[in-house]
């Protein structure tokens, strides 16, 4: 699975027998035991393992929920209540799955921002990065369809709003958008038919996700992990074997993350959801504010920033189309980061100007999230438009231009030098004298 040759030596007869027929233990050993891991990884690098856990947890809890759930417009809402009330520990499984979706997105956003800060998207990790963006897209589709399944008011109206987005294509080819929307719905409105097919896809997509995650990890093990300095592994002292070093750190990170996860499962299971989703779907009653789950809010803000005019530019009938295009572009543009960023220095740690833009970009995303939760009116729209521009400027202007004009600070010669404080920083007492025990 990697460019690194596995140091696996079967000792037992049984081990040798297997190794000659299917060297799967050799593969595992090379990928997850003696795989060289940069010695300077911080806790932000534990989120890869955390995300793997999240995917597995969602699949396991989801399979159990599907044993009790009924995907029909008359039975779905009742079956969720049946799970909460009558299934043994059903409330726990259901909370794990619902809160799990939020935790999955929390972890994936940390993971992405970590990649953006330390330049993990740059060569030779472009394919790894693009696979990551595809994972994000599939995750979003899965979460969106999953949110329909409880068949509450927000489920129903959320699907109605989001699937209706495709009707914006009518402004390009008359009738195309409507045809697509009706094809998605399986009828002339969102109904039990829609719910049924979304359930089918919601069950399918996580396994697709698992496959892409496999490719993501494969690509990671070919290029090797990035690290806080952004430097390549150059000398043997730059890395430590994955086990027990990275694994022990991953375990700490995962369990700390589980504390947060459990806090929400047991004490705040409904905090991240919307109260309206405890009202059964009613096609005749529209909720006053339709909002998606928190993890979609920044993208929702971008979608709604395109009203009849955008910062003074009249959009007319194309407003909706522009919003839809902007929203999808906001995700897709992340995939182009490897080519948009012109700096050859990976880590923002050594990029004095870019660093500030990064933090401002993080603020932009949080601001968009806040604005997405507010009604699309008055000053909120103007701010959403301003921050939408900021969002795209980060990729389209900051990344190419800052890379050209910025003088990076002095890079350490190697990871080992950075860790031992050689180079730019003064030598800590006794550092050079301490022999490396590995």
């Amino acid at each position: 699975m990697s460019g690194h040759a596995s140091g696996y030596e079967p000792t037992s007869r049984w081990g040798k027998w297997w190794d000659e027929r299917l060297p799967i233990f050799r593969l595992m050993h090379g990928s997850f035991v003696d795989f060289p891991t940069p010695r300077n990884l911080n806790y932000l690098w534990t989120f890869g393992g955390i995300l793997t856990f999240c995917l597995v947890a969602q699949i396991v809890t989801g399979v159990v929920l599907a044993m009790h759930y009924q995907p029909s417009d008359t039975a779905a809402f009742n079956s969720i209540e049946h799970i909460r009330r009558d299934v043994n520990y059903g409330w726990m499984i259901r909370n794990m799955h619902a809160v799990g979706a939020s935790m999955f997105f929390f972890a994936v956003y940390v993971h992405i921002f970590r990649g953006l800060y330390y330049g993990s998207y740059k060569a030779p990790r472009e394919v790894l990065w693009i696979l990551g963006v595809i994972i994000l897209l599939v995750m979003m589709a899965t979460a969106f369809m999953g949110y329909t399944l409880p068949w509450g008011q927000m489920s129903f109206w959320g699907v109605t709003v989001i699937t209706n987005l495709f009707s914006a294509l009518d402004t390009i080819i008359n009738g195309l958008g409507t045809a697509i929307v009706e094809w998605l719905w399986g009828g002339y409105s969102v109904s039990g038919v829609t719910l049924n097919r979304f359930f089918s896809l919601h069950y399918l997509l996580p396994f697709v996700l698992a496959g892409i995650v496999g490719l993501h990890i494969w690509a990671l093990h070919v290029a090797g992990q990035n690290n806080p300095t952004g430097l390549d592994l150059k000398e043997p002292t730059d890395s430590v074997p994955m086990h027990p070093y990275a694994t022990s750190k991953d375990a700490v990170g995962l369990f700390a993350f589980l504390i947060l996860y459990a806090w929400f499962i047991f004490f705040l299971p409904d905090y991240l959801g919307h109260a309206d989703n405890y009202i059964e779907a009613d096609p005749l009653v529209t909720p006053p504010h339709i909002v998606p789950e928190w993890y979609f809010l920044p993208f929702y803000a971008i979608l709604r920033a395109f009203t009849s005019s955008f910062l003074g530019i009249p959009l007319g009938q194309y407003a909706k189309l522009c919003g839809v295009v902007a929203m999808f572009s906001a995700v897709l543009i992340i995939a182009f980061a490897p080519w948009l960023d012109t700096s050859r220095v990976r880590s923002a740690k050594y990029r004095p100007i870019f660093k500030w833009f990064f933090w401002f970009f993080l603020f932009t995303c949080l601001a968009l999230g806040y604005l997405g939760s507010k009604p699309a009116e008055g000053v909120y729209v103007t701010w959403a438009q301003i921050f939408t521009v900021c969002y795209f400027l980060y990729f389209l202007v900051v990344m190419p231009v800052v890379g050209l004009i910025e003088t990076p600070s002095k890079l350490p010669r190697s990871i080992t030098d950075a860790v031992l404080g050689k180079g730019s920083a003064p030598l800590p007492k006794g550092a050079a004298a301490a022999p490396e025990v590995r």
Partner: protein, 288 residues
């Protein structure tokens, strides 16, 4: 005792976070909805059995005239973590419940009405929404099983306060917005609407209801229910007790959930600390 301490510690932490900004938080265009000191709120809160029993009495004697509890079954009134009425009493209650169960078809192919059993839902007076609307002048009395979860208090703090309020909520594990809202609604009726407010025929003025016009007449007034346990027969007490009961109806596993939650959190904290020291030992020879 320990739990109380932990809760007050969390609460004071959250207070420090939001101190001084709480006033700025409510840029109130709607009536302010107070947070109530629920026995079941926060990460150590549990339902008060006596309160749930009183709350059920209020439901039965007042609310049940119009509202059903269709997702709650008579058997639930017996189970642990709820009002825990004796089984015999609930069997009797079910048998005497005025809204009987439609069952059938019988040998003649006819549907028939029969008294409720433990295994039956707590039905309201109407068979369907249409019947309810016809009887209530077009208004629909909602089923109350999930009402405490299906409502929330909307707050509109200024943007910079928002994250601190959220952090405060998370640290205190506050998710009782629905209960606060229903309590505020039940106690938010005013006999005379503010000057200049046009109240439609057959509507009542309520401070917290969206639009302030509600079809439900003020349901609670002092003395309408006689408590057995000496709790003063005050409208606020009725409201508080019935909201506690409805909160249980909406989330019957709360007690068990929080009990297991503490065991899980404790296990995770201990394991995390152990793993951390294990990790430090493993890495002790490698500068990183």
């Amino acid at each position: 005792m320990k739990a109380r301490f932990a809760q007050s510690l969390g609460a004071s932490l959250a207070l420090v976070m939001s101190a001084g900004i709480a006033v700025a938080a409510e840029a109130g265009h709607e009536a302010h909805i107070e947070r109530q000191p629920w026995a079941f709120s926060g990460f150590t809160g549990q339902f008060d059995k006596a309160q749930l029993q009183r709350g059920f009495q209020v439901y039965k004697e007042v609310c049940a005239a119009c509202h059903g509890l269709k997702r709650l079954y008579f058997r639930n009134l017996v189970q642990p973590g709820g009002p825990e009425f004796p089984e015999e009493a609930v069997k009797k209650l079910a048998a005497e419940w005025p809204n009987q169960i439609t069952d059938g078809p019988n040998d003649q192919g006819k549907m028939f009405e029969r008294p409720a059993l433990l295994s039956d839902p707590i039905r309201g007076p109407y068979h369907n929404d249409q019947e309810a609307r016809a009887a209530q002048n077009g208004a629909l009395p909602p089923d109350l099983t999930l009402i405490a979860r299906a409502r929330n208090v909307e707050r509109n703090p200024s943007w910079w306060v928002h994250p601190f309020l959220m952090l405060g909520d998370i640290l205190q594990s506050y998710q009782e917005g629905g209960a606060d809202y229903v309590y505020a609604l039940l106690t938010g009726f005013e006999e005379t609407p503010p000057a200049g407010f046009e109240l439609a025929e057959g509507k009542y003025y309520n401070k917290v209801f969206p639009g302030h016009q509600i079809s439900m007449p003020p349901p609670l007034s002092d003395g309408v229910v006689t408590y057995q346990d000496g709790t003063p027969a005050k409208a606020e007490n009725y409201a508080r007790d019935v909201v506690a009961f409805l909160s249980w109806a909406a989330d019957p596993s709360l007690d068990q959930r929080k009990r297991i939650g503490w065991q899980v959190i404790l296990y995770l904290i201990v394991t995390t600390v152990l793993l951390y020291f294990g990790k430090r030992r493993i890495w002790s020879a490698v500068k990183h």
